[in-house]
Amino acid sequence: MGHDNQKIEEFFYKNNEQVNNPIIKSFLSDSKNLYLVQKAILYPTEINKKLVDESFQSHYKNIRKVKYVSNLIYFFSLDFDKKRTRLQNRFLLILDRGISEEGGTTAKELIEDESNEKELNNIVGVGLLDNIEDEQLLKSLQKLTVKQLQILEMIYVKDLTTKEIAQKLRTTPQNISNLHRKALNKLNHTLVKKGE
């Protein structure tokens, strides 16, 4: 038995380089194959050698298959996407076309849903008084003059600048600013009073 082991070791030692070849290594890592090889080394008959060969060839073929399939999956998925993109770009819908040359945003992304906005305005209303939830604030606002309310609405709801408001009401920006400050003061006053 010791003699046998020596013989096997000697064989592997002599062929160290080949044994480290990845395909031989993976073949020998299966104990069944290793056993066959050892048997063939000890009793190098035709049958033993043939058994090893058969096992090795199926192992080799399997590895080839795995490698092949692995590459197939990778390249096929790349090709698939390329083909799809090419087809899609060839028959592009107008709305799917990019706005600029580089693409990025498409035309359909810029379509506005107007009904949505309208509905929201129908429910809430557009005026300043329609948008107040606080009851005290609403009451204080109702005490302001019409002009003051108008200005507050233009500033806080419509987001206009003092200059634009002045043009609309045909007065000076200073006057608007003044009226605005007075309105806020009055609001503050009534609110503080109520708070007490």
């Binding site: 062929n15 080949q18 070849n21 031989i24 073949f27 090889v37 050698k49 090893v52 060969d53 090795f56 060839q57 192992h59 080799y60 073929k61 080839r64 298959k65 795995v66 092949y68 399939v69 692995s70 197939l72 999956i73 990778y74 096929f76 998925s77 790349l78 698939f80 996407d81 799809r84």
Partner: protein, 66 residues
């Protein structure tokens, strides 16, 4: 004959099963709407190729040790 066919089917099935993670990973190369299609196409291709491609004859084991 039927036996051989069965063996081939089983082999193909194991290969596809073993490669499922790899396939899933490669699906990311396309848009998510297309992924299901791609997965099916890949599996189809694997079956087709395993059935048709002749894998080269392996060298003899003892050739390495001559």
């Amino acid at each position: 004959m039927a036996n051989l066919e069965n063996q081939f089917n089983e082999e193909t099935l194991t290969i596809i099963e073993n490669f499922t993670p790899k396939i899933k990973q490669c699906l990311h190369s396309t848009d998510y709407q297309e992924r299901e299609d791609l997965e099916q196409e890949i599996k189809l291709k694997i079956i087709e190729k395993l059935a048709t491609v002749k894998f080269q004859n392996a060298p003899s084991f003892w050739d390495f040790f001559s």
